[in-house]
């Protein structure tokens, strides 16, 4: 680990909204090529942590990215419904004008048929795609400008269980092929065990930090989730 390049250092990070403490005392670092998962119950401040990392909310402490790093962020909240008149091509066109590059990005997220992409997918209304396909389009969006780091807030929200696995496999494949660093928020600890090399448990404070198989012990899970911990632990052992 020592020879790896540290690209993000976070020291004593705290966020407050109107005197309401959302996060406090977070310390961690991210190295190039890491997959860092952020876990925690609903309302624990995970999305706020992302927004602080991006400098979108005021914070105390230190968030230091290495210089000239390109960070791409895919938030959880999208208002893409069936009703929105916006085609896939138009949406991706907001980020990249070059159609060949757009097709390339869609190919690398698993839409392989170029003819189908050009004549159907790009002209389709974004909201008419399935949840899994929308997620692929969002991943394509995020990789269009060749970022160094991908920040994903619940990449599989609203996707069925089978589809989740596919999306994570896709992210892993992209990471291996292009050497991205990935920071993701996930509610699914199985996924964290399987794909992340580091995990932060957040519930206002940092409850745990380290390799998933080491730090996600019953103790810290109980601290993080309360009663649900044993269920998650069981699932984990089952998968080993």
């Amino acid at each position: 680990m020592a020879n790896q390049e540290t690209i993000l250092t976070v020291e004593n990070l705290g966020v407050k909204f109107d005197n309401n403490e959302i996060l406090r005392g977070l310390n961690f670092f991210v190295q190039k090529g890491d997959v860092l998962a952020i876990v925690g119950p609903n309302g624990a401040g995970k999305s706020v942590l992302f927004r602080a990392l991006l400098g979108l909310v005021p914070y105390t402490g230190k968030v230091q990215w290495s210089p000239k790093l390109k960070v791409s962020y895919v938030p959880q909240k999208f208002n893409i419904d069936r009703d929105l008149p916006l085609s896939v091509g138009e949406f991706l066109g907001f980020k990249e004008k070059n159609v060949a590059k757009i097709i390339g990005a869609l190919k690398s997220v698993g839409m392989t048929d170029e003819h189908h992409i050009e004549h159907h997918i790009l002209k389709e209304r974004l909201g008419w795609l399935s949840g899994g396909q929308i997620q692929r389009v969002l991943i394509a969006w995020s990789i269009l400008d060749n970022p160094d780091v991908l920040l994903f807030d619940e990449p599989t929200a609203g996707i069925d269980v089978g589809g989740e696995e596919t999306i994570y496999n896709l992210l892993k494949k992209l990471k291996d092929a292009r050497g991205f660093t990935i920071i993701l928020i996930s509610h699914d600890l199985n996924i964290v065990y399987k794909y992340a090399n580091n995990v932060i448990c957040v519930n206002k404070d940092m409850v745990c930090y380290g390799e998933p198989s080491i730090v996600l012990d019953p103790n810290s899970l109980a601290k993080l989730y309360g009663g649900e911990a044993s269920f998650y632990k069981h699932e984990h052992e089952h998968n080993q």
Binding site: Y73, P75, D83, S87
Partner: protein, 257 residues
């Protein structure tokens, strides 16, 4: 006869320009889920018009000032909360209308409520032309940013887009087009000219480009058809313009995507 001073020609120019602008802006009102706001925003203008008449100022400026205050209110609500503020907006607009009806001098009330495009002059046409160009110029500048912030406010922020500024510029454009359009359709119906052509365009569009273009086109066609029809049958143009957009809406329903 000089075509510039031909009353019908002037009406058509002003009507079509406002129709184009209203339709185009309406398409963004719809994707921003502000149809109700679009529909009733013009009601706010009435107290402004009334005060302008009482103090002997050009009613356009009274209307625009009232609308400006209203959009600042809406903008503030948008910033403060993620929730749709439609109930509050609905109540506020209805109250403004009631207040406006009460204080508008009676002999001016009918014109304020239903508009009267037959009374416009060359100066109105010039103001409308300049303002419409300004609106389209603004919209072409903020089109991309506005759409991304509709898709996801957080995504837009992460890309360095000033969501709040973009939203304000958009609402300001809406206030301008509504203030202009009060001459065409009046307080009661101007909102309809913003929303109905865009709703019709949505029926037949998959993507944003066709949606916004059809919305502008339908707005312009509603004004053109409505003014010509009203002129021929000697009817009040405002309601006919809105009814024309209604006919377009019903027609497009048959071809709904």
């Amino acid at each position: 006869m000089n075509i510039i001073s031909n009353p019908l020609f002037l009406q058509l120019v002003v009507g079509i320009l406002i129709g184009l602008g209203a339709g185009y802006l309406g398409s963004f009102m719809i994707i921003k889920r502000m149809s109700l706001v679009g529909d009733v925003i013009s009601h706010v203008a009435l107290p402004g018009i009334a005060l302008a008449i009482i103090f002997n100022i050009n009613p356009f400026f009274g209307a625009f000032t009232a609308l400006l205050l209203a959009i600042i209110g809406i903008w503030y609500l948008e910033r403060k909360t993620e929730l749709p503020s439609e109930t509050l907006v609905g109540i506020f607009f209805a109250l403004s209308l009631a207040l406006g009806i009460l204080i508008t001098p009676e002999q001016e009330l009918l014109e304020a409520l239903f508009g009267d495009i037959t009374k416009i002059g060359p100066m109105d046409a010039l103001i409308t032309l300049v303002a419409t160009l300004l609106i389209f110029f603004t919209m072409f500048r903020i089109y991309r940013e506005l759409t991304i912030s509709v898709v996801s406010k957080q995504l837009a922020q992460s890309m360095g887009i000033n969501v709040s500024k973009i939203s304000f510029l958009f609402l300001l454009s809406v206030a301008i087009v509504v203030a202009l359009g009060l001459k065409v359709t009046g307080v009661f119906l101007m909102g309809a000219l913003v929303v109905v052509p865009a709703a019709a365009a949505k029926n037949i569009s998959i993507g944003l480009t066709s949606f916004t273009r059809f919305a502008a086109l339908f707005g312009g066609v509603s004004a053109l058809g409505g003014i010509l029809f009203a002129n021929y049958f000697n009817l009040h143009p405002g309601p006919i313009v809105v009814l024309t957009s209604g006919v377009l809406f019903i027609t497009t329903l048959l071809f709904r995507k």
